[in-house]
Amino acid sequence: MNREMIEKYFRKEQLPHIWCPGCGNGIALAAIVDAIDSSDLDKEKICIVSGIGCSSRASGYLNFDSIHTTHGRAIAFATGVKMANPEMNVIVITGDGDCTAIGGNHLIHACRRNIDLNVIVFNNNIYGMTGGQYSPTTPKSAKTATSRHGTVERQFDICDLSRSAGATYVARSTVYHYRHLTDMIKGAFKNKGFSIVEALTPCPVQYGRRNKLGNPPDIMKELKESVSLTDSSKIKIGVFKNESEPEYTSEYHKLVEAEVGKYE
């Protein structure tokens, strides 16, 4: 991330950030900032909403209007922000736990409504902040603080889940594929409707260590090799859905205008 971007978009007094060395969150955040900078979003009308978790700390570093909410509720707060002011470009920064465990209900209903939010999930497959308990995206058999002999539960595919629930823009990338990730986020901003970008990102401290994945560069390499744009035997990255469908706030306001119109 170059100096210019830091000057332009960060709350410098909040830096340096407190993420662990080797954490991917900084890269994911930089990709969001790059996407904002190179998009045609009105920078004065951006609101960043985050939940609670290592990933959700991102909102505190950015110099936009921001709300750091409670664990799991970022999308619900963001729904309120968007309804009150449909002009706002609302960006939700959340973690896999925040978004799909404690807050999973809000995710599916926001998808279903197709409300114009841009959700960027930093998926590190673990509850990083609270010490490495398994999350709904922890791969089966992975070792975590709450599954020492391997996780028995099956994992969510965030993209499949969102697509089935009605999201209109669904994409996945990784922090290794920085340019691709930035493009995926830019695509989200372009969609008028519910957009979700799953950013795969390593947590070397809580996930990597327990699963003996090596040091952060090794983990990055592993991340790079585990995904593919084309090879279906790997985790796919790219845009999985990008369709235009009626957006919730517009539909809602159309209805209000029509009803009010009857009495004018």
Binding site: A101, Y127, Q133, T146
Partner: protein, 391 residues
């Protein structure tokens, strides 16, 4: 034979859980209580307990799963803090009204917002009227002892209520202290097996949680209130039995140098340790000061407290939480209403201290006792005070 060990409060409580060997623990992590289920899940993984450990997706689910397991006749426990307790809210009332003796370690942390991970009592005090028994402890030893006793208190046939065992986040939960631990067999014998008067999967089919309209709802609530009253006697009985086992004495509250005290303080949890130091120092200077540390906040020991405060001239009530009532914080309110009609001109100011983990020093505590002596002398004092806040 008991053994001396060095453990943090969270470790001590997790060890108590291991010794109790509950049927089910359902939990969701939140600082600073995370370690309790964390250590416990290790005991499960190592085969040191036969419990089922359920890692659920939120505290609301954690308490729901606990209720289900307890309704099925199991002995059930969990731990939480702050927002986690707040998210359990709906279920707290269900557990209490269904008369299910779930035991919950509440590692006290400031309730958002603003978000803060440090200690005060705004989480458990917010849940004070949810129908749960609330027992507080000053240090790791008390957290451990209270946790074991909580099983017997909650499951007593005259009570059948859930119990919160509260202790201070970080100060007690994370600091390592020396304490005495019972033998596994002693704990096993002390807690025995849960005998549920009725349960799902019992001999006869039961309906739990059905609609309860005006013909019976009121009576059920009345019974619940009666159970809470009964808990007072049971807490003392269980404490007496525990004392026989361990030599450690517990009551509804602890009195420290109260015999001839003129100025006293009523306080909860770890700051009592700081305050006892101040009492010792001021006693050495010839000042008649004393302290009462509340152990059972629910049920609230009103009559007993009135008796204990009978001869003091002034008593400062210390709250590590603001009540936002515009009148007084929770403990202050409780003590003043207990003293209604029995105050005999007593001076009863309240002090709100230590919110969000603000340090409370011996000087702060001494200044409170000094305020009391000044009030006794001049008759002038403020009722509603903040200790250690920048105005």
């Amino acid at each position: 034979m008991a053994k001396r060990v060095s453990l943090s409060g969270n470790e001590a409580v997790a060890y108590a859980m291991r010794q109790i060997n509950p049927d089910v623990v359902a939990a969701f992590p939140i600082t600073p209580s995370t370690e309790v289920p964390q250590y416990f899940s290790q005991f499960v993984a190592n085969g040191q307990v036969t419990s089922e450990f359920v890692a659920v997706e939120s505290e609301h689910s954690a308490m729901s799963a606990c209720i289900g397991a307890s309704a099925a006749g199991g002995r059930v426990m969990t731990a939480t803090s702050s927002c986690g307790l707040a998210l359990m809210w709906e279920m707290l009332y269900i557990a209490a009204s269904s008369r299910l003796p779930v035991v919950l370690a509440v590692v006290n942390r400031a309730l958002s917002g603003p978000i803060n991970i440090h200690n005060d009592h705004s989480d458990s005090m917010g849940a004070r009227d949810s129908g749960w028994i609330q027992i507080y402890g000053e240090n790791a030893q008390e957290a451990y002892d209270n946790f074991i006793q909580a099983i017997r208190i909650g499951e007593h046939p005259d009570v059948q209520l859930p119990v919160m065992v509260c202790y201070d986040g970080f100060i007690t939960s994370h600091a390592v202290e020396n304490l005495e631990m019972c033998e596994d067999a002693e704990v096993k014998a002390f807690v025995g097996e849960r005998v549920a008067p009725y349960s799902l999967l019992g001999e006869n089919p039961v309906a739990m949680g059905p609609l309860d309209l005006p013909p019976h709802y009121f009576e059920h609530k009345r019974q619940q209130a009666e159970a809470m009253r009964n808990a007072k006697k049971v807490i003392l009985e269980v404490a007496a039995e525990f004392e026989k086992l361990t030599g450690r004495k517990y009551g509804l509250f602890e009195e420290y140098k109260m015999e001839d005290a003129e100025a006293a303080m009523v306080i909860i949890n770890s700051t009592a340790g700081t305050a006892k130091k101040v009492v010792d120092k001021m006693r050495a200077e010839g000042k008649k000061v004393g302290l009462i540390k509340i152990r059972s906040f629910r049920p609230f020991p009103a009559e007993e407290l009135v008796a204990a405060l009978k001869n003091v001239k002034a008593v400062a009530v210390m709250d590590k939480v603001d009540g936002f009532t515009g009148v007084a914080a929770p403990l202050h309110n409780e003590v003043r209403s207990a003293l209604y009609g029995a105050a005999e001109g007593k001076i009863v100011p309240g002090y709100i201290y230590g919110l969000g983990g603000r340090d409370v020093t011996v000087n702060d505590i001494e200044s409170v006792y000094n305020d009391l002596f000044k009030a006794i002398e001049t008759g002038k004092y403020e009722v509603y005070n903040y200790l250690g806040v920048r105005e």
